[in-house]
């Protein structure tokens, strides 16, 4: 997985100055959390369901091999095939071979974060295939050559005008030379253009929200219906998904279906929940002729048994993004990774590397709101701290910060010097502060303090340190 996370700060600055993007963030940061809260509060057992969901995932991950093999057996019994991919390269090669077997060149896809992670589209396009995303948001960002803005709403940072420009440019080749600006008409245009792709596609590629070990079914939870067309219209259905998506039974699945949409979009349930198992049978009215599931590891088994194992419980609902004051300030593309927000700050170093992605787990104030809303109770802040520890161990922490921490720890071991240093710091601040309305503020600090005073003043201490005054006998 390629990441450009080292540019987080620059990206963030640009995002903060982008009014259009900020308007999109308002939907995630304000509307979705309100909807989530409203729908969750109507369900008295919501908190208990979260506990169950966590426990089911723990059980599934503790016996991952067993459940995946059971899933494979059921898929084969239904006439499908299961392929195991250790790396992104292996997964892409397997999918390419399966496409080759189809004999055709036209591929349609429904939204799948795993295939984004694998950069599958680039791989297939490089091999001469036509790949079209069919989720409306994903289709738009594919035309614009962008990465998803949010794992649930990939294009919610764009307005109708921007989409209009994109369609006007991209759809001319289909004879649509008139510019469309109305939102409903834009959706209609996408539908008309995509309908042709659906009808002519040789291969449909989907992800999976869940895999059911008991039945060998793959589960798609969507709102647009495009995933079902992708899964059923072409002759070949390829499912590409991460190994952590397996749940033991259909009963277990029902628990997740009750929390997923509520956590993601505040819906009681999504518009479509579809379970697929195997290719079309003799008496089936429709369905693909072949059904292949590519189970992707790509770093996931390396997470087992480590402090970030619990991240594998993630069901990609996006609640942590919507609740995150950093995400809702900078948006998904600032992260330079397919996965953004708190979940992305934990996934990205695991799937790419600590050195390339360290900016992400550091971009958190540890406010803890993500953990509060996570439907499977993943302790996201602790895991971000884990990556900071890995960064520190590997001497990747910026040298100035490392030096400062060393000095601070040394002062911690020498209390009299700590007292002297804090006294001097307080005196220094009082010295450079300027009076305003009876208070004194520092308006410009050097070095690391510049980060503070670039956007706020610092109220200088009004008196000598607490410890020094206490020592001299002051008590109140």
């Amino acid at each position: 997985m390629h990441v450009t996370s080292e540019k987080f700060q620059d990206n963030a600055k640009a995002a903060i100055d982008d009014d259009q993007l900020q308007a999109g963030l308002f939907i995630f940061g304000k509307i979705f959390p309100l909807l989530r809260e409203a729908t969750a509060s109507k369900l008295p057992e919501f908190e208990a369901l979260r506990d169950s969901a966590r426990d089911i995932k723990i059980e599934a991950l503790n016996n991952l091999g067993t459940y995946l093999e059971a899933f494979e057996d059921r898929v084969e019994e239904a006439g499908g095939r299961v392929h195991w991919a250790r790396t992104a390269e292996e997964a892409n090669t397997i999918v390419e071979q399966l496409c080759e077997e189809s004999g055709g060149k036209d591929i349609i896809k429904s939204k799948s974060m795993v295939t984004e992670e694998l950069e599958l589209n680039d791989h297939l396009i490089g091999k001469g295939y036509n790949v079209v995303e069919t989720d409306l948001g994903e289709y738009i960002i594919q035309l614009r050559n962008e990465k998803p803005f949010h794992i649930v709403g990939p294009a919610l940072h764009l307005n109708a005008g921007q989409v209009s420009d994109t369609f006007y440019e991209a759809h001319q080749k289909y004879g649509r030379t008139e510019r469309v600006e109305d939102k409903v008409k834009l959706v209609e245009e996408a539908r008309i253009v995509l309908r042709e792709r659906f009808k002519n596609a040789d291969v449909g590629i989907t992800g999976a929200n869940f895999l059911v070990a008991e039945t060998g079914q793959i589960v798609l939870v969507t709102n647009e219906g495009n995933a079902d067309l992708t899964a059923t219209l072409p002759k070949r259905h390829i499912v590409v998904t991460g190994i952590e998506k397996v749940v033991p039974t259909l009963d277990d699945l029902s628990v997740f279906l009750r929390i997923l949409a509520r956590s993601a979009t505040g819906q009681d349930t999504s518009n479509y929940v579809s379970l697929y198992s195997g290719p079309r049978r003799a008496r089936d009215a429709d369905g693909p002729e072949s059904f292949d599931v590519v189970l992707v590891d790509n770093g996931r088994t390396d997470m087992l048994g480590t402090p970030v194992e619990e991240m594998l419980r993630c069901i990609r609902c996006g609640a942590c993004l919507n609740s995150c004051p950093v995400f809702t300030t900078v948006g998904g593309q600032s992260y330079g990774s397919v996965y953004s927000g708190p979940m992305g700050a934990v996934w990205t170093p695991a799937l790419a590397s600590v050195s390339s992605a360290a900016k992400l787990p550091n971009a958190s104030s540890f406010c803890g709101k993500c953990e509060e809303v996570c439907p499977v109770r993943i302790p996201l802040p602790s895991m971000m701290r884990h990556w900071r520890e890995k960064e520190f161990e590997a001497h990747l922490t910026p040298s100035g910060q490392r030096w400062g921490l060393g000095v601070w720890a040394w002062l911690g071991r020498h209390p009299s010097l700590y007292r002297a240093a804090t006294s001097i710091a307080g005196m220094g601040l009082r010295l450079i502060a300027k009076g305003r309305r009876g208070r004194r503020f520092v308006t410009a600090l050097p070095f690391i303090g510049r980060g503070w005073t670039q956007s706020r003043d610092l109220a200088a201490p009004a008196e000598p340190t607490f410890l020094s005054q206490y020592k001299e006998g002051r008590r109140r």
């Binding site: 950093v326 540890f366 803890g368 911690g412 804090t422 607490f466």
Partner: protein, 254 residues
């Protein structure tokens, strides 16, 4: 102050925290007053330093353990350790035990001190059993829920209860009072643009209430919000909840 408990023989060690010690010493004296008025014998161990959060949150686990050992040396002999900060109290109460999970006998000592450590306001309400302070002040305040106290120590109602008991004080709730102000320790200087935008939003919510002061339980958040208000030329004051409960805010010219 109305204490349900009469004078107690319990001894409290007050952990001032770096930011109170250096930036807002008055909060330490306010804490002393509130705890003594509640009938406790309070001392301030002279060799206390930092709880180690900057190192802990930067991934420097080993240094953090040395801060924790220093903390035990200073506070082991007290019945309670009280901290005028949700985040430093949570560091001791929630995170110290994680640092010594596999180390007997240190683990026992750490767990014992973690159990006896409390954030100031929740100590007053939940342990001392106080539900009102004898104090009158005609002012209006809005309360910002500092993240660590709110989510790690479940401090939400306690400060509101005590603030509500101050005669004449009006509490004007802001929107998103539980959304982070963007301080986050070193976060605010490592990601100044993001932090600056977060505190800009926060100071806007504060200003919208029209309250005379914003009140919170952590000096880090306090300095952050106060600084952002000052930068926008907003005269709204910022106080630690202990300053208001002890009546020290009245010393300031408005």
């Amino acid at each position: 102050m109305t204490a349900q408990t009469s004078t107690t023989d319990k001894r409290i060690g007050l952990f001032a925290t770096c930011l109170v010690n250096t930036m807002r010493p008055r909060v330490g004296f306010a804490a002393l007053k509130l705890l003594e008025d509640a009938g406790y014998d309070v001392a301030v161990p002279a060799d206390q330093t930092c709880c180690g959060q900057p190192n802990y949150n930067s991934g420097d686990r080993e240094s953090t353990r040395s801060f924790a050992r220093g903390f035990i040396r200073q506070f082991a002999d007290y019945d309670y350790v009280v901290v005028p900060s949700g985040s430093c109290a949570a560091m001791v109460k929630v995170h110290y035990p994680k640092l010594f999970e596999d180390d007997e006998p240190e683990k026992t000592a750490i767990n014992a001190i973690a159990e006896r450590t409390y954030e100031l306001v929740s100590f007053l309400t939940d342990v001392a059993g106080i539900d009102r302070v004898e104090n009158a002040h005609a002012t209006s305040v809005t309360y910002h829920d500092a993240c660590s106290g709110l989510r790690e120590l479940k401090i939400k109602q306690q400060p509101r209860t005590l603030l509500g008991s101050v005669d004449g004080l009006e509490l004007k709730e802001m929107e998103d009072s539980d959304v982070c102000c963007g301080f986050g320790g070193l976060f605010c200087v490592k990601y100044p643009d993001v932090s600056g935008e977060m505190v800009r939003k926060k100071s806007e919510e504060v200003a919208k209430t029209g309250a005379e002061a914003v009140v919170t339980g952590d000096v880090g958040c306090l300095l952050n919000i106060e600084g952002a208000l000052a930068r926008r030329g907003d005269p709204t004051r910022a106080y630690h909840v202990a300053e208001v409960l002890a009546g020290f805010d009245k010393e300031d010219a408005s």
